[in-house]
Symmetry: C2
Subunit: 385 residues, 2 copies
Amino acid sequence: MSSSPGSGSPAAPARLGATTSAVRQHNLATLLERLHRRGPASRSELGAGTGISRSTVADLVQELVARGLASEEGNAARSGPGRPSPVVSVRPEGAVVLAAELGVDSITVAAVGLGGTLLGEAQEDVGRARRTPEATLGQVARALRSLAEQVAHGTVAGVGVAVPGLVRRSDGFVHLAPNLGWRDVAVGALLADQMGQPTTPVLVANEADLGALGEHRRGAGQGHDNLVFVSGGVGIGAGLILGGRPMLGSAGYAGEAGHMLVNPSGRPCSCGKVGCWETEAGEATLLGGAGGTIDPAAARWIGVGVGNLVNLLNPDVVVLGGCYGPIFDQLVPHVTQGVASRALGQSRAVAQIVPSALGPAAQLHGAAELCLAETLANPTVRRRG
Amino acid sequence: MSSSPGSGSPAAPARLGATTSAVRQHNLATLLERLHRRGPASRSELGAGTGISRSTVADLVQELVARGLASEEGNAARSGPGRPSPVVSVRPEGAVVLAAELGVDSITVAAVGLGGTLLGEAQEDVGRARRTPEATLGQVARALRSLAEQVAHGTVAGVGVAVPGLVRRSDGFVHLAPNLGWRDVAVGALLADQMGQPTTPVLVANEADLGALGEHRRGAGQGHDNLVFVSGGVGIGAGLILGGRPMLGSAGYAGEAGHMLVNPSGRPCSCGKVGCWETEAGEATLLGGAGGTIDPAAARWIGVGVGNLVNLLNPDVVVLGGCYGPIFDQLVPHVTQGVASRALGQSRAVAQIVPSALGPAAQLHGAAELCLAETLANPTVRRRG
DNA sequence: GAGAAATTGTTTGGGACCAGAACAAATTGG
DNA sequence: CCAATTTGTTCTGGTCCCAAACAATTTCTC
C-alpha cells in the first residue's frame, strides 16, 4: 500500500483554510527544504533568503534541531565585521529513506538521508531466468531491510521504487513493464507486505519520472523549472518537471513518449505500430551496429522526438539519461540536427540539451526525493520512533 | 507592458517565509475564489467547505463585503431545522476586467466581472486588407475603452488579450502570428500605451492557452486537473492545464503542437516540413471539400495528434475547440479511431474527449480569468480607485 | 400551538505565531 | 583599544484564528 505523495494529507476532509500553525509548518518546511536542497547555511543567510526575522529564524532552527532534523555547528566563515553566525546543516540521519531501482538484470538499492546523502548502497543480480514478480520483490525487500538495519536501525521514513514501466501512482500498481516481463503487478502492495512494516509508505513510480526528479533536484536540472528527462534504454521514457513540479498526469502515466511517431517510413514496433520513437532511437537500434559505434540516423531520431517535446512543452533543459548519458558527446551533433528539423525557433532557443549528471543514480535520488518530500513539507510530523 | 501572472509578486525580493497576515490573505482568497468559481454559497457552506470556523468565516465575509468584492443577501433555502444562513455572492462589479480576442478578420472584446459575469461584449470587423499591428491595436484599444466606460466607469483591474500566435508571456511580445501576418510585435506594450492607463496591467497570451483556461474554469473542463485544449483553425494550437495549473513552459511557448509530425506521407507545410499536424488536420484540409462535409482522413489525423498528447500528458479530458467544436459530433468517430491507433490503453482509458462548451467565448473567459487571478489571489490589494 | 431539537450567527477569551525594538555579544579595522 | 558592524537574544505587541458560551431562528413532534 502506498500513500499519495506531495498532495498533502491523503484522506483529509478538505482543509483549504489556513491557521496560524500552518504558518509555523510552512516556515519550518521552507528552512528545512532550503537546507536540504542547497546545503548548509548560516542563520543570517537563512533569514535573508526567506525574509523571516532573526528572532523567528532562531526559534525555527531550534525546533528543527530539537526534532533531530538539523544541527548547528561552528560559525560561518565570513569576511567583514560582525558577530559570526552559526552554520545550520541538515542532519542526514534525521530522515532516512530507502530507494530501489528495478533493472532488467539487476536491482540496485540505496539508503539516502536528508540532504541527499547516500548512506549505503548495494546491487544484486536477478539472473537472466525470468522469475516471478513476487520472488524479485522478495529479493528487493530483503536487500532493503538489510540496508535499513545497517544505516538506520531499521527505522526509515519511506521506500521509493523505480520501475521501468507504466505505474499508477496512487497505489503503485504496475500495469505493464515490458522489460521485466511484468503485467498487472501490485508492486506497491506486494513490497509493503514483504517489508513487514505496515506504517512505512511504499511509493512506486516510473523510472523516467524519478530520473527527472533526481536530475532536477541534484543533477543537471538544478535551478530549472521546466525540465524534460529522456531515459534511453530498451524503450524510451520521458519524465517531466513542469512549473517546478513533477508532472504525472491524471493517473501517473504522463511521459509515455516512447510510442510517439517520429519516423514516417520506420520499422515495426512491438506495440504494433510503425515508426515509434523507441523503435527508431532506442538502445537496440542506436547501438545495434558492431564495434561500439552509434547509428547516426538513430541519433537524429532522438533529436526529432526531443524536438516534438520542445515544441509542446517549451522546457529550459532537456536531460538525456539512461543509455544516452554516457555517449552524450557522440550523440549531440546528430541530436541537435534532429531537434533543428522539428522544433520551432523560439522554443528551440530556450531549451538546452545536456547529459545526465547523475547517471544511473538519478533514479535512486529521485526515489529518495519522492519519499523525503513528505517529511520536508511537514517537519512537525514524527515518522516512526 | 505587462505584469507576470500567477507567479506571485513580479519583482519581490524573495519572500518565502509566511506571516500571520499571509494566513488572512490566504483565507480571504480561498473564500473569494470559491465564490468566484462555484457561485453563491451560504456562510455555513463556506465554513464546512474550507474548514474555517464560523466566527472566522463571519469576519472574512464581512471584509470581502466591505471591500466591495462580495455581498450578503437573503437566506439560503435549506431543508431541516436550524437557523438560516445568509447567502454570500461575489459582486461582479467588485472587479471588472477587459478581454479581447484578435481573430483573423474580426476582433471581439468583452467586459467580465468577478464570478465570470459577462457585463458587455462587442465585435468589430477589421477588414480583409491587412492593416498594421498599430492600427489594429488602436482599434482594439478604442473598443476596450468604450466598453470600460459603459460598464465600469473606466476603472478596470486588467486587460487580457488572446492572440493566435507565439506569445512571450513575460511582456506580451508576439514573435509570430501567421494568421494575422504579424511578426515581432510588442502587443503588450503597444496596447498598454494605447489604453492610456499605465497602471492597468495588460496581459497577452496565446489563444489556445486561454481557451484551455476558459474551458477549465467555466466550460467543459471544470473539475478536471489535467486538461488539453485543442484549438482547430488555420493552424492547430494546444493549451495545457496540468496539475490544475496552466502550463506555459519556460517562456510561455508551451502547447505549440501544430507542427508535431503525424502523417508520414503527408503534404508540405508552410513551415517547410512535411506531415505536420496542422497541415493534415487543420481547418483548410478538414473542411476543404465542397458541400460542408468533413474529410474523414483529416479527422483521423486529429485523433492521431490527440493520441500523442494523451500518451505524453495523461490528461483527464481533451477539449476540442475552435473550428472543431461545432462539428464535434461528426468528428468524434474518426477522432476516436485515430486516438486508438496511437494512444496506449491505460492513458486512453483515462482521457475523455469532449467538445468545447463555451465555443468562441472560451478565449474571452480565459483572458478574463487570467486578469482576475491576481485579484482573487490577493483580495486585500485595492485595484484602481 | 408549545416545547424540544437542530443549526447557525455572535461575542468573548485565549493561544499560537511572527515582527520589531532594545540590548548583548562577537568580530573587523583603524 | 575603540568604533563600526553584524548578528544572536530577549521582550513586547499585534494579528489572526479557534473554541466555548450564548443567542437567534427554523423545523419537528406531540
